[in-house]
Amino acid sequence: MARTNVLAPSAELREELRRRGGASAQRCFQCATCSAVCNLAPDGQPFPRRQMLMAQLGLIESLAADPAVWLCHNCNDCTVRCPRDARPGDILQAVRSIVIERLAMPHWFGSIVAHARSTWPLLIGLPLAFWVVLLGVTGHLTMPARVANYGQVVPHVLIYAVFIPVSLWVLCAAWMSGVRFWHLLGSAGPPRRGSFIGATFSTLGEIASHRRFALCEAAHPRRWGHFFLMWGFIGAAVTSGLLVIALYGFHMEMPLPLDHPFKILGNLSAVFLLTGGTMLSFQRIRGGDATGQTTAFDSFFLGVVVLVAVSGALVEIGRFFFSGEVAGWLYIMHLTGILTLFVTFPYSKFAHMVYRTEAMIHQKMTEEG
């Protein structure tokens, strides 16, 4: 393996890590218990002992190009067993948040999201203000007495006029960051030799089944929380796509009846999102070594997800139980949560979806070679 001969230790990175909850790195004495207890560490490239040393020295360039940072699923088996309470799980989580910010395009927006601890009111308030202004300008701020169809609150065309360009934009930003990361991964360590297509399919299969999460010992329940949340997201995304087709392709009448396949898929996704969000929130609130430290990096993303899931569920029953005023504003909150989630996707913890997938593909390609 190629090794850099010149190290560039950085006091700033150490300070940055400390700010993001990674002060414990300095307690590490390199005993290597963490690598030995990690069930996800490959035999030939174990982690996180080496990454702890890099974090102590502030070698951010090396960490940013290291797939191990993302192969880690934050099981915290290492933190549970660490004899010095150096908390490798927390350190890698803090490193991931730093890498996301560094790779963000544009960087300034990445920094705003990276400081969600103080900027979160802005990150939720601006999308809310955006909807209010948009509805005001288009003359839709008066709520009906009873909501029969949420198109009465926000016309569907407005939703698509907002979300289609926003989606394209964030996908573009995520793509650019993802490409940068892919080049970084390739710049260090063993070369990629295996097939990209094969590695990608195998990676997607692992993600779908959560096979790696299943290897976690201490934080075993996180597997199911994450599993439900991820499939809830996928289901919700598929439902949204199907609804565009239903609305504009087949001019179907909204809301769809409860026994319609699209509706069933949407409701199932909502149940998954609520279940996953609740499980993960409870684990975060309970805390402990197996959960790891909860910083704004975790709570902002999880908070927005819970906002979307809970407001979505209330919106659905709101048609029957709430006044038009309440249901209407719940719907606006729901759309606000989704807009925040979309806009911050390449910059928040959500971005792990891109980076971890890439790291897993990269790992498979280097191992196959």
Partner: protein, 415 residues
């Protein structure tokens, strides 16, 4: 003050440190009372196979000390005795209440062995760390001093008096009772020693889960000629000699969830144990997994000797897991120098556990450091020697005891 210097000094514990302190003080002319809770002297050291620095058996060092002890009229030795209570006599020393366990076997015993031959009951052999069963009435171990049998009364069969009938010297009294005596002493030397960190607290390293995972102190017994296997190192599960032996350093040490400190002796002990294994089984492969190899001072020469021995390998990386697969043990560690994970098979795993200070019974209310080791309290005439004071090897404990003796003697004599 002169009154105080006529009182004896109390030494609690007759292991290497306590014996040394008692002898050093008595040989200056001071009266000494030496109490030991066990019926034999020698403590933990008596249960070693070999000890540093010369790797000689403990019997030779102990024999010299027992001879000094027997010759010296100023030492009163009280076996099977504990300090039940202690109170400060104003500023003048201590009044202590000593409780001696029932003397079932009296000093008429000649250690002839007639009783053991007829004894129908057995009990766990505590001098072999419970690794085997032993007759209820027996000599604790071959070089035990005093040369008197012990009877573990609780394990006797109901109404049995076979040993009483068999004893030709009328030395057995099954109805003996415990006794109390009060004593005034000038100062106290605490040499209560240590116990090994329990392997049951390390289940992730196989402790208490697999028979072939043993502690370093248990290996001392297996290697010792008066141990449960007659000095042959065997896998407890099969009774066959091991081919691959793994040593897990810092097992429960330097770990905030277990013992936060380094005992400072386990690295050298495991190196010594590697020699035990290689002496008996020259073909065996020994691997020592470590965080740091601590061999201070001249011991570094020993480290070099071990490292150069064929079939002994050092791996930098603490063991994370010990699991059982298909009847053999698998040890997982990262070789941190190579940056590779190792899954090594082993048929005997030795956990190098650290020293825990004995502190269950402390009528003196000793001050302690953050790790639980007792600290000298000169204002109250309390001094600590040996591992009760800090983790140490035998030679260091003995030096510590000698130094402590001087301070304990000075109480009441300072002008």
């Amino acid at each position: 003050m002169s009154q105080l210097s006529k009182r004896p000094v109390l030494v609690v514990g007759a292991g290497a440190a306590g014996l040394t302190a008692a002898l050093e003080m008595a040989e200056t002319g001071r009266e000494v009372v030496l109490v030991e809770k066990e019926p034999v002297i020698g403590g933990r050291v008596a249960r070693f196979h070999h000890y540093f620095p010369k790797l000689c058996p403990p019997s030779c060092g102990l024999e010299i000390n027992t001879r000094r002890l027997e010759r010296n009229p100023r030492i009163q030795v009280l076996m099977s005795t504990r300090v039940k209570a202690a109170r400060r006599d104003g500023d003048h020393g201590w009044t202590v209440m000593l409780e001696t366990e029932p003397e079932y076997v009296t000093d008429r015993c000649t250690a002839c062995g007639a009783c053991t031959e007829v004894c129908p009951a057995t009990c766990s052999d505590r001098f072999n760390l419970g690794l085997q069963e032993a007759p209820v009435i027996r000599r604790p171990f071959p070089h035990a001093w005093p040369e008197r049998f012990i009877l573990e009364r609780d394990a006797c069969a109901q109404g049995c008096h076979e040993c009483v009938d068999a004893c030709p010297y009328d030395a057995i009294n099954l109805d003996a009772a415990s006794s109390l005596q009060e004593m005034q002493v000038a100062s106290v030397v605490i040499a209560t020693g240590w116990h090994p960190y329990p392997v049951e607290k390390l289940p992730e390293l196989g402790g208490g889960r697999f028979p072939d995972v043993i502690s370093n102190v248990e290996l001392e017994r297996f290697a010792s000629a008066d141990g449960p296997t007659g000095g042959v190192i065997l896998r407890p599960s099969t009774g066959t000699p091991p081919e691959k032996v793994a040593f897990v350093q810092c097992a429960g040490s330097r770990d905030i969830k277990h013992l936060p400190y380094c005992s400072g002796v386990c690295c050298l002990a495991s190196m010594k144990h590697a020699f035990y294994v290689k002496e008996q089984l020259p073909e065996a492969e020994v691997t020592i997994f470590y965080i740091d190899r601590r061999a201070p001072g001249r011991n570094e020469d020993f480290l070099v000797r071990v490292a150069e021995t064929k079939g002994v390998r050092f791996v930098k990386g603490k063991v994370g897991k010990v699991e059982e697969r298909d009847g053999t043990l698998e040890v997982t560690a990262e070789d941190a120098e190579e940056g590779k994970l190792l899954h090594e098979t082993a048929d005997l795993v030795v956990l190098a556990v650290g020293m825990v200070p004995e502190k269950e019974e402390d009528p003196f209310g000793l001050p302690r450091d953050d790790d639980g080791f007792a600290v000298n309290d000169p204002d109250r005439g309390l001094f600590v020697a040996g591992v009760a004071h800090r983790p140490a090897d035998v030679a260091t404990s003995i030096r510590d005891a000698t130094g402590t003796s001087a301070r304990a003697l000075a109480v009441g004599r300072r002008s």
